[in-house]
């Protein structure tokens, strides 16, 4: 009796987003549309009209903000399908409700990634040459092939996993019957036998999806990793490192989406679901840290000039903020949030938090003492701040740490803790990607002649990137109105 009412409640909550349009929803859509328009304006009005001249790219760096985000989005896409496939293969009851959000993320982020490629090339009118004249020897074409295969696979999985709910929705919303019919491609069979067949099919596809996801991100890594002209890209570690980053950032983004969606529409998603995702994160974050350590150790122990220069720049130079923020706020802090027991007495939690904050604070304060220069990146973006930039970002980091450690860590809500950890991991991986993509281009071979390059993204570049992300968020909001984002419970 009790479980029946619970299923009832869940069922109702999952359908809730489909009713009506709230003021907040309308405002959100309007805001995102504005961002998309802004991005489009800068793309068409300045980048396509004047050339890539309007971006921060120059003769020492050819792949900047757009490629960073391409790599990042391919990663979160691969991570999304891995969550969904695990749910289907292992029949994880916990992950079942969120497999659709994960699949949607896999599809939409991959489409956004291709958009980033589209805006990054100099002759977008020739984009179709990739299909017309594709050369099988180029890693970029391997990526085109795997993206097409993977996208098709993710779409079929998404369709198979959704159509039963679409059929169920036809009965609930008779006036929107045509829409659900269209989305389900005319399918109507939801007999137990048909559902079982669907489950088996999904399981089979999931077995194919996992190697596809691993390949997708490995090949994306190899676009960089096979280039011998860039020292720290050219390592066999890059493929595995990218796959682990993909799992960490992908699962983190799924988690963030679940937590946010749950809060927005008061969906009935339990602590177990988010807690389970938190466990996957707690396992993948240390592996990421381990890879980073292995790479740092190899480079510093040998001390080969070219690679060492890149790493010195990363750890102590103009990109040091990215490295340290990634390490402390993107790896250590989330790990702390994920593995520390949630239900602590408040005073204990506070004591631990204070200790951790002091530790992190010391780490950050040691930085200038260890001989770093003023971070050029910040000094150039905000010349007036020059002298203030360094203390400013360190102080900001410290304040963020203290807020997280004193407010979030003692919180007993799994959603708050795991959600915050996920957001931090996503940000950390984005910073990690930035360092990986940008630095080896600035420190190139023949640096004794060319010198060290610099890269500061310009406003049009940032606006276009924001526009693309806004397009993704917009798609998510629209899809949330089209069908339930969470699988409806069977037993209803």
């Amino acid at each position: 009796m009790q479980s029946a009412t619970r299923a009832e409640r869940a069922y109702e909550s999952f359908l809730r987003p489909l009713y009506g349009i709230s003021l907040w929803y309308a405002l959100g859509v309007a805001g995102l549309l504005g961002l998309v328009a802004l991005g489009g304006y800068h793309l068409v009005g300045s980048q396509w009209a004047q050339g890539l001249e309007v971006t921060g790219l120059n003769t020492s760096i050819y792949w900047g903000l757009y490629i960073i985000n391409f790599v990042f989005l391919v990663g979160v896409s691969a991570g999304g399908i891995i969550v969904a496939a695990l749910a289907h293969i292992l029949e994880f009851k916990e992950f079942k409700p969120i497999s659709r959000i994960a699949e949607l993320q896999a599809i939409s982020c991959l489409i956004l990634a291709t958009l980033f490629i589209f805006v990054s090339i100099g002759a977008p009118d020739r984009f179709y040459y990739l299909f017309l004249y594709g050369r099988l020897g180029s890693p970029l074409i391997w990526d085109v092939i795997i993206i097409v295969v993977y996208l098709a696979l993710a779409m079929v999985m998404g369709y198979l996993g959704t159509r039963a709910d679409l059929v169920r929705c036809m009965a609930v919303f008779p006036r929107r019957r045509w829409l659900f019919r269209l989305l389900a491609l005319g399918y109507t069979d939801i007999s137990p036998a048909a559902l079982e067949r669907e489950r088996r099919l999904l399981r089979g596809l999931s077995w194919a999806a996992i190697p596809a996801a691993v390949l997708l991100h490995s090949i994306t890594a190899w676009i960089l990793g096979l280039v011998k002209a860039r020292v720290t890209w050219h390592t066999s570690l890059l493929g595995p490192l990218f796959v682990v980053s993909a799992v960490a950032s992908g699962v983190a983004l799924v988690t963030l989406c679940v937590v946010v969606t749950r809060a927005l529409w008061r969906l009935d998603i339990g602590e177990k679901v988010v807690g389970g995702l938190g466990k996957v994160l707690a396992l993948s974050v240390p592996v990421l840290g381990y890879f980073l350590f292995a790479e740092l150790l190899t480079v510093t122990f040998g001390g080969e000039t070219a690679a060492l220069e890149v790493f010195t720049e990363m750890v102590w130079g103009s990109f040091a903020p990215f490295f340290w923020v990634n390490l402390i706020v993107g790896l250590l802090l989330p790990l702390l949030l994920l593995v520390m027991p949630a239900r602590l007495s408040a005073s204990w939690a506070f004591a631990r938090a204070a200790a951790a904050a002091a530790f992190a604070g010391v780490l950050v304060m040691v930085w200038p003492w260890a001989g770093g220069d003023a971070p050029a990146l910040f000094a150039e973006s905000f010349p007036a701040w020059g002298a203030l930039a360094q203390p400013a970002w360190m102080l900001g980091l410290l304040v963020l740490l203290i807020v997280v450690l004193t407010v979030i860590v003692p919180s007993t809500s799994v959603f708050v803790r795991v959600g915050t950890a996920s957001a931090l991991i996503v940000m950390g991986v984005l910073l990690e990607r930035t360092n990986i993509v940008v630095l080896p281009q600035l420190h190139r071979y023949l640096a004794e002649f060319y010198g060290v390059g610099r890269y500061v993204p310009t406003w049009p570049e940032v606006a276009v990137a924001l526009g693309i992300y806004a397009l993704g968020a917009l798609a998510f909001l629209v899809l949330a109105k089209l069908f339930p984002l969470v699988e409806l419970p069977d037993e209803h």
């Binding site: 790219l57 100099g122 890693p139 970029l140 280039v227 002209a229 023949l446």
Partner: protein, 227 residues
């Protein structure tokens, strides 16, 4: 036929006339001071400069840098659409009509020899009167990659002329713009496959070295170490 170039650093005076001649021959776009300040300048032939030491005893090193026309070109290996390719005579050429501007080749080139058309060139009206009218070096569009071609328009013309006259090409008959203009006579262009050619003989000198040879790119531009 394997076209190559020998650059004697002892004879180089760092006058940069090779870079200027190259710009004129190949219609390489101008850059405004603003564009060059943001390092958007295009040089097919560039003079690399390294200065070491302080005032009383500074030591400068100059290396003219065309495209190395590698026998194992990393740029050709990565191009997704086959816009850059290695011709049978060893020249690494660029098809501007095919290039999509993904810049993968630029990332893959360890020499920084590939250049991107970031934006429109702004140049004085008078420029048109001395632009090279040869269609094969017509100004490239914005958004594609361009690079040193060993002046393939000159090479192909000379080869065709020799064939029409029923004779083989003589050594030194074809000169790239940089070799032709070089004030110190430091740049020698020729067939590396012909052991009798001046370029091939100079390339066998004990002073010969290639830039970043250890990367396995097998460059066809050979430098003679300054003594």
């Amino acid at each position: 036929m394997r076209w190559g170039m020998v650059i004697d650093l002892d004879k180089c005076t760092a006058c940069q006339s090779c870079a200027v001649a190259c710009k004129a021959e190949n219609n390489v776009p101008f850059a405004t001071p603003e564009q060059s300040g943001r390092s958007h300048t295009i040089f097919w032939m560039d003079l690399l400069v390294q200065v070491r030491g302080e005032y009383p005893r500074p030591k400068a090193r100059f290396i003219p840098r065309p495209c190395m026309h590698c026998d194992n070109p990393p740029c050709v290996q990565v191009c997704p659409v086959g816009a850059t390719y290695r011709r049978p005579d060893g020249i690494v050429a660029q098809n501007y009509d095919r290039c999509i501007g993904c810049k993968y080749c630029m990332v893959a080139c360890p020499y920084g020899a590939r250049m991107f058309n970031m934006g429109r060139a702004e140049e004085p009206e008078s420029y048109r009167s001395y632009a090279n009218p040869d269609g094969r070096v017509a100004r490239r569009r914005v958004g594609v990659v361009e690079k040193c071609t060993f002046c393939f328009q000159r090479v192909d013309q000379a080869v065709a002329r020799a064939r029409a006259e029923g004779r083989t090409l003589e050594d030194g008959e074809v000169k790239t713009a940089c070799a032709q203009t070089c004030t110190g006579g430091a740049i020698v262009f020729g067939d590396l496959d012909d052991p009798a050619s001046r370029a091939a003989q100079l390339a066998g000198s004990p002073r010969a070295f290639r830039l970043l040879d250890e990367l396995g790119t097998r460059p066809k531009v050979v430098y003679l170490m300054e003594g």
